[in-house]
């Protein structure tokens, strides 16, 4: 039995009361509970059925300017008391910190909208199995070179979340999350390749069809067969849309308040600076209905708003919670807990037209490893993709690296494609970067 919203609200109220009783001058607490099903089929048979039931509670207490935090997955009264007690003990040992504390009471979200995040999927394990089987079968039927499968997985979760703090703010909402994915192997005597495809949505009715997911996984795995290494060189590089979100995450990591005040960013003190070509606009919209990262208030109860991160290529704002904002003498941007639903504007070209414009260069479709130094922006990652000549894909390439510096890559962004129909919370097309170093044989 999952707890109701009212029960979760009561739990938050009890937690805050307990913290007050133990002497905390301020506190906040979040409680979540979800249940779901995750089912994997492989080679036409059910492989695993997991019944998931996750719950958790986190509390932060302030004793003046000192802070302590605790969390527990066990929501029994004894465990909750232990967690609150520990948070208070910790707060007595941390240092006085001028910037510590809740976000200002005046910033709390008041009448926030219902963003339509809750669409539970009344699906039985049998139906889930059928759906996953359809995806895998479509992949295996596409081509005899699809020789093996890692399986297709359907996962559905639905639950509720409540946040409250000692300003008197209490808010929360139910939400759901559904994913269908498929991973297959291709083989034709010259080694094996694997690739995947997936879709993920708040509303299960919006999921791509199992057949289209399976087919796309198979097409991707087939296209990688007979990959070769490239010789070491410099060349233009296009990051295909499905891996381009990583570049935007590189940006948001560097403009987070935490990275700025610690001086651990390759975009240190760049507010107002030109960091992209002047046509680039990057926005965050936390209020997109059914958005995968949508939220009407952030992890401190602060109201969230759509905003420009980059306008005319210039950095418009850092990404701040109340702590990093105080550190930088700024105002929180309602980003406690992260960035919610990013997008970049695109030009009129599709991927094929971009390849045509590029003439010769590398289309990267897969990246491996971390490879970004957050302090310097130095970038070096394992890559695979396709070599392009005369505007056409010539052959798949693998076991190469691509390297540059992310600041340089942002400045050298030549175009963003209109091929931005990718799953996930980041909306972007493919990125064409003027020049990178490719290392290979």
């Amino acid at each position: 039995m999952s707890p109701s919203i009212e029960q979760l609200e009561q739990m938050v109220a009890d937690l805050l009361a307990e913290a007050r009783k133990l002497g905390a001058s301020a506190a906040d607490a979040a409680v979540s509970s979800s249940a779901g099903l995750s089912l994997t089929v492989r080679m036409g048979e059910t492989e695993t059925i997991e019944h998931t039931r996750d719950q958790g509670l986190g509390i932060t207490v302030f004793f003046g300017q000192r802070k302590g935090a605790a969390s527990t997955t066990d929501l029994s009264p004894a465990a909750i008391r232990e967690a609150v007690g520990k948070a208070c003990t910790i707060a007595k040992n941390t240092s006085e910190d001028d910037c510590a504390g809740l976000a200002d009471a005046t910033l709390m979200a008041k009448d926030y909208p219902d963003l339509g995040l809750h669409h539970p999927w009344p699906i039985s394990p049998d139906e889930a199995m059928q759906t996953a089987l359809q995806a895998e079968q479509a992949a295996r039927d596409l081509d005899p070179r699809i020789s093996n499968s890692e399986g297709a997985t359907l996962s559905t979760q639905s639950g509720s979340f409540i946040y409250g703090n000692s300003h008197g703010f209490v808010g929360g909402y139910p939400s759901s999350h559904h994913t269908l994915s498929c991973v297959v192997l291709s083989e034709d005597g010259d080694g094996m390749q694997r690739d995947y495809w997936y879709d993920t949505r708040r509303d299960w009715r919006k999921l791509a069809t199992p057949e289209s997911i399976g087919r796309q996984a198979a097409q991707r795995a087939l296209a990688k067969l007979h990959g070769r290494q490239l010789g070491t060189r410099q060349a233009p590089v296009i990051f295909r849309a499905d891996i381009a979100p990583g570049l935007l995450r590189g940006l948001t990591g560097a403009i987070r308040g935490h990275a700025q005040y610690r001086q651990a960013s390759f975009l240190l003190d760049s507010l107002g600076e030109q960091i992209f070509p002047d046509w680039v606009e990057i926005r965050e919209d936390p209020l997109i209905p059914q958005g995968l990262s949508s939220a009407p208030f952030d992890n401190e109860g602060v109201v969230t708003r759509p905003k420009s991160l980059v306008e005319n290529g210039r950095l418009e704002t850092y990404i701040l919670d109340s702590y990093s904002a105080r550190k930088l003498n700024m105002q929180t941007t309602g980003n406690a807990g992260g960035v919610r639903n990013l997008s970049i504007n695109n030009g009129s070209m599709g991927l094929d037209e971009m390849l045509q414009e590029m003439g010769s260069g590398l289309l990267v479709t897969e990246l491996m490893g971390q490879g970004l130094n957050p302090v310097t922006g130095d970038y070096s990652r394992g890559a695979a993709g396709f070599w392009v000549e005369n505007g056409k894909i010539q052959y798949p390439v693998e076991e190469i690296t691509i390297a540059s510096n992310m600041k340089e890559m942002f400045r050298q962004l030549l175009a963003v494609g209109n091929d931005n129909d990718i799953p996930g919370s980041i909306r972007t097309g493919s990125w064409w970067i003027e020049n990178m170093t490719i290392a290979g044989s």
């Binding site: 695993t48 019944h51 066990d74 076991e399």
Partner: protein
């Protein structure tokens, strides 16, 4: 072990009022005529972490995790459910969900068996309470002061201190009980240095399955602070890394991440049973140079990756993966071992009760060779000496793997010269180790900071190796 079992019962079962009779009832419900195997897994974890940043103790966090995971296996099918609230009703409900993979039907009752005495590999005491809070704070402040005093170019220091205490109890469908009490501590230092407007960072740290005294003894903690500063200052002088295929000498210890990525994952039982790995069906074949012998050893006392028993109750083992370059065996959990007609090797691990066990590595390392490390470096005309790494990744199907340099130098005419910037190295698992042409006599294990991710599950692991010369590997620099 029997002592451990008593401790685990007291920690996990007694507070919830769960008796042996209850365990039998739950297991009876979980198994049916079509269930080949089943287990109940109880876990109780406490974790405490502290962060010093900007010269002050900024964060402290306590996490409590507790629950039970129930698994039923029928052929190649697995049913799984878990519950956070430990009581008979929830356990029976979870058993009902988990066994839904097979049709109902009772198959008689099981009896709880005893268990063998095992030498534990680490102390059972609670590392969270191994030092008073004030002493933890003092230790972190000492490390901060050490790093800042080491060089005026140090601009920012972050220290993290983590202690975890994990108690597990697992019961299989034959009634065998096994338990383990696992301590784990880790300390990390990150520094940012600045010189003439150029900023660089570096990390250092270590850990073990002991307690927080580990960082006080032998001044280990202070050593991490000094090491992080040293590496960061080296990075201030680093020049662009060359791009392309070249000879690389890998230093001893943590660069053993090469083995973890290049061959380790590819030798996990699940991938091989399903034929997904570039190493599938290759037992008995030459997959590395004859100089290479690689083991996965869960039995090293107090090491981060060690396990007295794994998460299926199998005692930790030392398994030879590659001997003299020949592929000898895979790492197995019970499920994959049974389906492949092999023995489990004590590699069945799970992140928590809420995750299914998978075959995972413990401490993976290469045995030492004959060569003096100086001779190895001296033999390289032009190449790269890679001393430290930040992490790695592998595609087990294509065999392609990467790992990221965090400290490296050019080798020119057998001498170490300029430091180079971080870069990614990429290779092909089944090929990379065939290019090992020299193996040093200086085996080292890593300092105890490794965490491995697979299928969304993180577990602590160790790696190690002697100095190695790889004749050719692709280096992802920017300099042509």
């Amino acid at each position: 072990m029997s002592n451990t079992l008593a401790l685990a019962r007291e920690t996990l079962l007694s507070p919830a009022g769960i008796t042996d009779h209850h365990l039998q009832q739950v297991m009876d419900k979980l198994i049916s005529s079509q269930v080949d195997a089943a287990d109940l897994y109880f876990q109780y974890s406490r974790l405490e972490s502290w962060v010093l940043d900007d010269g002050i103790i900024k964060e402290g966090n306590f996490n409590l995790e507790q629950g039970a995971g129930l698994r039923a296996i029928s052929g190649e099918k697995t049913g799984f459910a878990y519950t956070e609230e430990l009581n008979l009703e929830n356990l029976l409900e979870a058993a009902d969900s988990a066994r839904a993979i097979s049709r109902a039907g009772q198959s008689g009752s099981i009896a709880i068996a005893g268990c063998n005495d095992l030498q534990t590999l680490y102390p059972a005491r609670n590392p969270l309470e191994s030092l008073p809070d004030a002493r933890k704070i003092e230790l972190m402040k000492q490390l901060d002061a050490e790093a800042r005093a080491a060089d005026p170019r140090v601009k920012q220091v972050t220290i993290s201190l983590v202690a975890a205490h994990d108690t597990i109890l697992v019961m299989d469908n034959e009634g065998n009980l096994a338990a383990d009490v696992r301590p784990l501590v880790r300390c990390g230092v990150n520094v940012i240095v600045e010189q003439n407007g150029r900023r660089e960072q570096a990390n250092a740290g270590g850990g073990s399955r002991t307690d927080l005294h580990y960082f006080v003894e032998e001044q280990r903690g202070l050593g991490y602070a000094r090491e992080a500063v040293r590496q960061a200052l080296v990075n201030l002088e680093a020049v662009d890394t060359p791009a392309g295929a070249m000879t690389v000498v890998l230093g001893p210890g943590w660069p053993g991440i090469l083995l973890h990525e290049a061959v380790g994952h590819g030798l996990e039982g699940d991938f091989n049973r399903k034929g997904l790995s570039a190493f599938s069906n290759r037992i008995g074949e030459q997959v590395a140079s004859p100089l290479c012998t690689i083991v996965d050893d869960g039995t090293l006392p107090e090491r981060r990756g060690s396990l007295t028993v794994d998460d299926e109750g199998t005692p930790g083992r030392n398994t030879v993966l590659i001997e003299g370059g020949i592929l000898k065996g895979y790492m197995q959990d019970k499920f994959n071992a049974r389906l492949m007609g092999m023995q489990t090797t004590g590699n069945g691990r799970r992140e928590s009760y809420a995750h299914l066990p998978l075959p995972r590595m413990t401490n993976t390392y290469m045995l030492p060779g004959e060569q003096d490390p100086g001779e190895i470096l001296g033999s390289v005309k032009n190449g790269l000496y890679a001393v430290n790494f930040a992490g790695g990744q592998v595609d087990i199907t294509s065999g392609k793997f990467v790992f990221s340099l965090s400290e490296a130098y050019l080798i020119e005419d057998g001498k170490i010269t300029a430091p180079v910037k971080g870069a990614t190295l990429i290779g092909n698992g089944p090929e990379a180790l065939t290019r090992v042409s020299m193996v040093g006599n200086d085996l080292q294990l890593d300092p105890g900071v490794g965490t491995c991710g697979k299928d969304g599950q993180s577990v602590p692991v160790g790696v190690g190796q002697p100095t190695l010369k790889v004749d050719e590997i692709t280096v992802g620099g920017t300099a042509l």
